[in-house]
């Protein structure tokens, strides 16, 4: 197995995630896209650590951070979603478009 293979897989995950983030109307689905994107990042970080710099621990810490960030962002995201749902009964980004121009 080599770095390139891992990276191509990671790139595929990132692209799929990006596609989801760009296309999903539902806020939660959009967040899923971002999760998937981070999924690719985790893979990339692991690959970089393993194939390029196994002596250090930054790659591992990076994965820890990504996982934590996912949790934090999810929590924040659900909180925001809850708030906007309470306020406007909206769960789609397209409906939240009063502010513009």
């Amino acid at each position: 197995m080599n770095l390139q293979a891992y990276l191509v897989v990671a790139a595929a995950l990132v692209s799929v995630g990006l596609f989801g983030a760009l296309t999903q109307q539902s806020i939660v689905m959009l967040m899923m896209g971002l999760e998937l994107l981070l999924n690719g990042v985790i893979l990339g970080a692991a690959a970089f650590w393993y194939f390029l710099a196994p002596a250090g621990t930054e790659g591992q810490v990076l994965i820890v951070i990504v996982v934590t960030a996912m949790a934090i962002e999810m929590a924040a995201g659900f909180a925001v979603t809850t708030a906007i749902y309470r306020a406007k009964r909206i769960d789609m980004t397209d409906d939240a478009a009063e502010l513009r121009g």
């Binding site: 995630g17 990339g44 710099a53 960030a69 934090i72 962002e73 995201g77 708030a83 306020a87």
Partner: protein, 468 residues
């Protein structure tokens, strides 16, 4: 092996902000609704402690603490600017938040956001930078939705989603940079990049910059700025458009100076972002009638001017004092402008008619702030712009200075579009006195005065910022 090799005392300002936030939440939980003012007092004490800590720390030679955190002029300056900004906003937002059920939380979130901004500025490791980015973002998402009305939640949603996207991009960038350099510490970055792959480094750097650009509100990550500014109450908008910007721009500065120009040609990239930011911000502000959106776009263009300094950061020693001074000047002036908006129920340019007669002091403060944003002597932003132009000129990017000058002239038009009605005759319907905010008015006057003082005293301040 596992040793506390560093002294937490070096982080007094940060710890003070943290303690202030924690105490705000704790004390707030046991405070009657109408007496939450004590929480603000507590926060202001914390800020005061932080300021004292900053001043004490600034007298010591630059050092690195916890391996990943740099204590130098930049950090100290950002600490001071953020602390003063936080204090100012907390003070003048009193009328807007007093006795609100979530007043304590407001205070805590502002303090936490400030802490995140400071940590970004001091971070000398990509991982810490991202952690600080998160800390600078999450409380502010909540802050954006703090008022929980329709518009503010929409603002919070957009802010959050933009931030999440930016954060993800930034993480991807961090990963790429890590892959390219094999390290995440700034001190080892240059040598790592020297032996690593340039292409991934460049893409990674751009992705990391995307996150920072989001915090700073620079093009093309600026989309949240007008919508969020428009949708949130002015005190919140003031926080969102001021505090994270300072940290993000300082962080950008610190990161880029450790990336060798010959491996990743970032000055031109930054110059492009700067050029587009200031031009787009100004153009979009042209025919705005909503003052909040107008201010929002103006902050976008202001970021463009700051980015000019960063673009030539590695080329001229004038850049550092220019950057820090500009940040300080921008913070004060911008806060003043938002305070002036907060002081008055008007939200469109026309509604400001006759303010000059009704509230002359407020009108003057607003004029000083707006002309300050234009860069009229002797306001602080003038010195900031002057140093920026000088840095650009001496750094071999004269075209950027010229573009900035053109933009400055253009910007005068929309600022004047706002200033002019202030001194026209009043609108027929009487003003609703009850919806005016006294503290915000005082805040506007104070901030405007401070921006003038900062401009006049620039001779004393600039050398302080020049120290390494």
């Amino acid at each position: 092996m596992v040793m506390m090799n560093e002294d937490p005392a070096t982080l007094i300002p940060e710890l003070a902000l943290l303690a202030g936030a924690v105490l705000a939440v704790l004390v707030g939980a046991w405070t009657p609704r109408r007496r939450q003012g004590r929480v603000r007092v507590l926060a202001l004490v914390a800020v005061g402690v932080g300021l004292i800590g900053t001043i004490t720390a600034a007298t010591k030679p630059p050092s690195t603490t916890f391996d990943t955190y740099v204590l130098d002029t930049t950090t100290h300056a950002v600490r001071a600017i953020v602390l003063v900004s936080v204090a100012l906003i907390l003070w003048w937002s009193r009328d807007a938040v007093a006795a609100h059920p979530r007043e304590s939380e407001f205070t805590a979130l502002v303090l936490l956001g400030g802490l995140g901004a400071v940590l970004m500025a001091g971070a000398a490791d990509l991982l810490l930078l991202f952690a600080a980015f998160l800390l600078a973002s999450v409380p502010l998402y909540a802050l954006a939705g703090w008022a929980k009305s329709g518009a503010t939640t929409e603002a919070a949603l957009k802010y959050y989603l933009s931030g999440a996207f930016a954060g993800v991009t930034m993480l991807a960038g961090t990963t790429l940079l890590y892959g390219a350099a094999g390290t995440t510490g700034y001190d080892t970055l240059p040598e790592g990049l020297a032996t690593g792959a340039a292409g991934p480094a460049a893409v990674g750097l751009v992705a990391v910059l995307a996150g920072l650009a989001f915090k700073a509100g620079a093009v093309p990550a600026h989309f949240w700025v007008p919508d969020v500014t428009d949708g949130t109450p002015p005190p919140v908008a003031a926080v969102l458009t001021t505090i994270p910007k300072i940290g993000a721009l300082a962080a950008m500065w610190r990161l880029l100076l450790d990336v060798p120009e010959d491996i990743v040609p970032w000055p031109l990239l930054i110059a492009v972002i700067a050029a587009v930011s200031m031009s787009l911000g100004n153009l979009a502000a042209f025919s705005q009638s909503s003052v909040l959106r107008l201010l929002a776009y103006s902050t976008v263009s202001q970021v463009g001017y700051v980015l000019i300094i960063i673009a030539v950061g590695a080329r001229t020693p004038e850049a550092q004092p220019a950057l820090l001074f500009y940040l300080a000047a921008y913070a004060l002036t911008n806060i003043g402008a938002f305070a002036a908006v907060a002081a008055h129920p008007a939200r469109t340019v026309d509604e400001f008619r006759g303010l000059g007669r009704r509230r002359p002091l407020l009108a003057i403060a607003l004029v000083v702030s707006l002309l300050g944003l234009v860069g009229t002597p002797p306001t602080a932003v003038f010195v900031g712009k002057l140093t920026a132009f000088t840095a650009a000129f001496d750094g071999g990017m004269a075209w950027l200075a010229v573009l900035a000058a053109v933009n400055t002239v253009a910007s005068l038009f929309y600022y004047l579009r706002w200033i002019a009605p202030l001194f026209r005759d009043e609108s027929p319907e009487p003003a609703d006195e009850s919806s005016e905010s006294r503290t915000a008015r005082h805040g506007a006057v104070t901030a405007a005065t401070l921006s003038l003082v900062l401009g006049v005293a620039a001779g004393l301040i600039l050398p302080l910022f020049a120290a390494s």
